[in-house]
């Protein structure tokens, strides 16, 4: 629940700090979001290897990675500011025309990630696997629509 408030608050962060925008270059904003997303990928991959059976399922570790992913998720959106649209990145141009949809998908991702934390704590391993799949599909949703592959 707290994360949800952070998430909603994060929508307003860019506006509140807009008077400081001169200090942060668009390139740095891109680096920031790429860093956060790289960190998310790190943690999601760690859970993925457990789900795929490459490494044994370890509930404590899984909860650890899931919680870190849930912490990072609300931070991603801060890095997607329209002023970065001319910076060369993996973000498709159409992202900026569909920011509302993008934000909606990001909030859905947060919901699924928070659910993943819950299920990791209480659910059966098969349920964890299922919820992890749902979360990863949420990742895929934006990747398919808004991310260039190379």
């Amino acid at each position: 629940m707290v994360r949800k408030w952070i998430f909603f608050f994060s929508f307003f962060v860019p506006f509140q700090f807009s008077h400081l925008a001169m200090a942060v270059s668009p390139e740095d904003i891109v680096k920031y979001r790429q860093g956060i997303l790289f960190g998310m990928g790190w943690n999601v991959s760690a859970m993925g290897s457990m789900v795929k059976g490459d490494v044994p399922f370890d509930r404590d570790k899984f909860i650890f990675f899931a919680e870190r992913t849930a912490v990072l998720t609300p931070m991603v959106l801060e890095g997607f500011q329209p002023e970065t649209k001319d910076v060369d990145s993996y973000t498709k141009q159409k992202t900026w025309e569909n920011l509302k949809d993008f934000e909606k998908r990001m909030s859905q991702l947060l919901e699924e990630t928070e659910k993943l934390v819950e299920v990791a704590k209480t659910g059966e391993e098969s349920e964890v696997r299922k919820q992890f799949g749902k979360t990863a599909q949420q990742c895929k949703g934006c990747h398919d629509n808004y991310k260039k592959k190379s």
């Binding site: 990928g41 999601v44 991959s45 859970m47 993925g48 290897s49 789900v51 795929k52 696997r129 299922k130 992890f132 799949g133 749902k134 979360t135 990863a136 599909q137 990742c139 895929k140 990747h143 991310k147 260039k148 592959k149 190379s150």
Partner: protein, 220 residues
Amino acid sequence: MEEKERVLIWDIAIRSFHFLLVLLMAFSVWTGIQGGIYLEYHFLSGYCILCLVLFRVLWGVLGSTTALFKSFVKTPGTVAKFLLEIVRGTAPPFAGHNPAGGYMVVTLLITIFCQTITGLFSDDQIFNAGPLRSFIQADTAGMLTNWHHITFDILVVLSAIHVFAIFWHEWILDERLIISMITGKKEKGKESERIIFASHRRLLIALTISIVIVWGLVNY
């Protein structure tokens, strides 16, 4: 309408190959679109498809007459002539693949081959990566993943043409191709007597070779 004698044209290998390929491709499309943990099955399906393609290539050299590449890959001139005859409605029926269909077989095999090979190097940039992904750089993998999607689009178009051609034969030319592809039998024509069917031993050899190659690629 009088019943003509029906003879075997397509051996069990070709028929099984064909419908397994259809099923696996449909399954791959579905799992691919789902993503997430479904990609595990997408990968397995892809390995099987690559096995099938390799098998078909071997069968095109070792297999029964109607499966042999040399029996159905004709000169482009023959294809042009055939297509012209199709439009005019004067094309003769063929026991095996007709000249245009022969090229479609080759085109589909090449495209499906590219589809599976690019898949081996692809990743979803979430938590799934093809078995050969670690041998290449991230940017190259991104490019190959893009190609994996482009060849998919090409396959959709090719499949549409393929299905269109089948219904052309069914409805316009009044040839029962679909049932032939299931039972393997067609109405007796002059060509059908010359078909030599390959032995089961060859089938086993071709199948073993293709499975070993794919197993080696995936577990390298």
